[in-house]
Every structure is written in C-alpha cells, then in structure tokens.
Symmetry: C2
Subunit: 176 residues, 2 copies
DNA sequence: TTGTGTGGTTGCATCATAAAACCAAATGCC
DNA sequence: GGCATTTGGTTTTATGATGCAACCACACAA
C-alpha cells in the first residue's frame, strides 16, 4: 500500500520559553495520498467512532452523548464540532420542538458503519476475553449474527489480503 | 450500549484540530463490554493501524517502519511494544540471519485487514478530495477494484445498518 | 420573576507526546 | 583484532491536549 508521507503542512513556529523559536512539524495526513491515513485523520481519535456509534443508535443530543459515553463535556464539545466540520455529523434544530440543537449523522457519517462492524468483528474473533463482550450484532429479522465481512472481487470471488494489490489511481484502465 | 469505564492506562493518540497528533492520557476501554471499544482500545491510536498496514506489506524491521512512517523512534518503540503485548505483532529473530529482531504480524494482527479495507473504502467513497487519493486496492488477478465491503445476514441477505440490532450475548438461542 | 436543567465554555494541573540527544550492541571494513 | 558505522533503541526535554471542575448563558417552567 502507500505510506503516509509526513509533511510539514504549514510553518508552525513555536516559541520556547527560552526565547528560541523552533519549527514544529505537524504530521498531518490530511492531504496525504493514503486513504487509510485520510480516514484515520477524520476518525482516528477514539472518541469519535464511539460518538458515531451512539449516533447510529439514535442518540442526538449533547447530553445524551455525554451521559452515555461519560466523557468530559469540553472534549465532547470539541469532538462534535470536529465531526460537524468534517461533514460526519450535522447540526439540526431539535426534533422535539425545543430550541436546542441536535447532532445527526450525515450520509458520510452513516458510511462509517462498515468500519464499526469491522472493529466489532475483529474483537469478536480475536479478543483475549471474548466472554466479556456483552452484545452481538444480529440481523434484525432472523436474530442471527451478521456474517463476517468479506472481501470480494468485482466478479464475486472471495479475496484474501494476498489476493489484492495496490494500483496507482492515475493508472486507470483507459480501454473500455 | 456500554459505558466505558474510565481508567487511565495506556497511551492514545488524539488528533487536534490543527491536524497534529498527540498522545494523551486516555481512558481505557479494556474490560469494557463493547467490542468496538475493545478494538479501539487495542488499535485506536492512529499509528498502530499504520504500523500494521506496513507490516501487512512486509515491513518487519524497526528501521523500516521508522523510515517508512517517519515517526519518532521512541513512539515507534512504544507502539511496537504495545502491539506485541497485545498479541498483534510478535518479535522474531531476524530472517536474514543477523542478530537483530523483527516484528511480524500474528494471525490476530492480520485479522485487522477488514478494518483497514473499511477505512480505505470509506475514504474512497466520502473523501472531500478523492482526487488526492493515490492508490486503489485492486484484485490482483483482474486488476479491478475490490468490491465494497457489505454486510450480509447468515443467509446472504444484504443488510443495512437499520436491518441490524444488538442482542445481549448471554441471550443465546437455546433451542437448536 | 425566580428557579432548574441543558448545553455548553473556561481555567487549570497533569501527563503523554514528539523531537532530539544520547547510548549500546551488532555489523562492516581493514 | 581494532575502529567506524549502522541499527535499534532509551533518555531528556518542552509542548500542549486532556480531563476535571467550576462557571456561564440560554431555554423553559411556574
């Protein structure tokens, strides 16, 4: 795959208390060519995915997130703002008619579902103490566990990691 | 869902709004009942998945990771150690006969592949500047993009998030 | 109007980070 | 063997984000 290249995004001059200035390299993967890094840049802090998870289950209000996740309010506030900035959540007027605000998932936010499922399944499969896992994700209709995510080729063949490779995006097939 | 119980243990990477990453005191979800939280506890810092990604592509040596990822050596050292502790990587004597050590993925580590694919696909689908993404994951045989991960029921029905629900693990079907 | 709950922001101490300097062992070269 | 260099880290240091708690503003209720 590609590696994230570290790059100095902006001149970040920092003044030490000794009066010196130093250049702080900000390692950001925003603008990086690696899509994994780009995703991590948007979701990579660990509260964000938990917030999204709760949102997928219907939480919308600041207080609901705060109660459920038990996180500091300032952090929640910062995370919600970041998620809104990134188009993962959107603010909306409260659905119950109150003047308060709600945070709802955008399609981009709902699109993280496979990521959450993948994380869940990894835990289910490899956790050292699986008996501590409290819930199973099931198909609502049948009540049976959802199947493990699998990678398939366009034609439906099941793929292992070794069956895949990375191609430069620019090298798109030009014929048909 | 579960409430994480806060417990300060290990490091976690957090992204600031400037795009910097920083490691902070983290509340750990180890021992939590939510499998997503448990996964995030093991993988949830952002360097770890990138290290795993490189490892999937064959990197094994400390120096290789360091060069490729461009991260501080102390952080890499800490991450590698944490990943080894968690059974995601294992140390092995160098394959080239030298006295140095190598870090190789365990099955548990290789099991993160769907997570990486999910992250990648999310980026490919929702990124604001998809043209900046340099690579595509393709089926090696045909050179065509791998199909988007999809959730299916045991019987093969395609599932949306709304088609799923969580069930307590203890409430396993006792009949049949 | 006063009072209470919701939805935050602000201040502050802690502590993990990231960069760089340092160091030891292994290897290469002669 | 002896010396230099590379590899693989650890230590040191400064920064600054986190998490907690206090505070605040607005909405809503009475």
């Amino acid at each position: 795959m590609m590696q994230p290249h570290k790059r100095v995004i902006g001149p970040a001059i920092v003044r030490t208390r000794m009066g010196q200035t130093t250049m702080v390299k900000r390692t950001s993967f925003e603008g990086d060519a690696c899509p994994i890094a780009r995703s991590l840049d948007a979701l990579g802090d660990w509260w964000s995915l938990l917030i999204i998870r709760e949102a997928l289950f219907g939480l919308r209000r600041f207080g609901e997130f705060q109660n459920k996740l038990g996180m500091a309010k300032n952090i929640l506030s910062a995370r919600l703002r970041a998620l809104v900035d990134r188009g993962i959540l959107a603010t909306a007027p409260a659905s119950d008619g109150s003047a308060y605000q709600e945070y709802v998932l955008t399609p981009k936010g709902r699109g993280t579902f496979p990521i959450l499922v993948a994380l869940r399944q990894w835990s289910e499969e490899f956790d050292d103490r699986p008996e501590e896992i409290a819930t199973i994700l099931v198909d609502r209709e049948k009540g049976r566990p959802v199947k493990k995510l699998e990678m398939r080729a366009e034609d439906g063949r099941l793929l292992t990691p070794a069956d895949t490779t990375l191609k430069p995006r620019s090298a798109r097939r030009r014929s048909a």
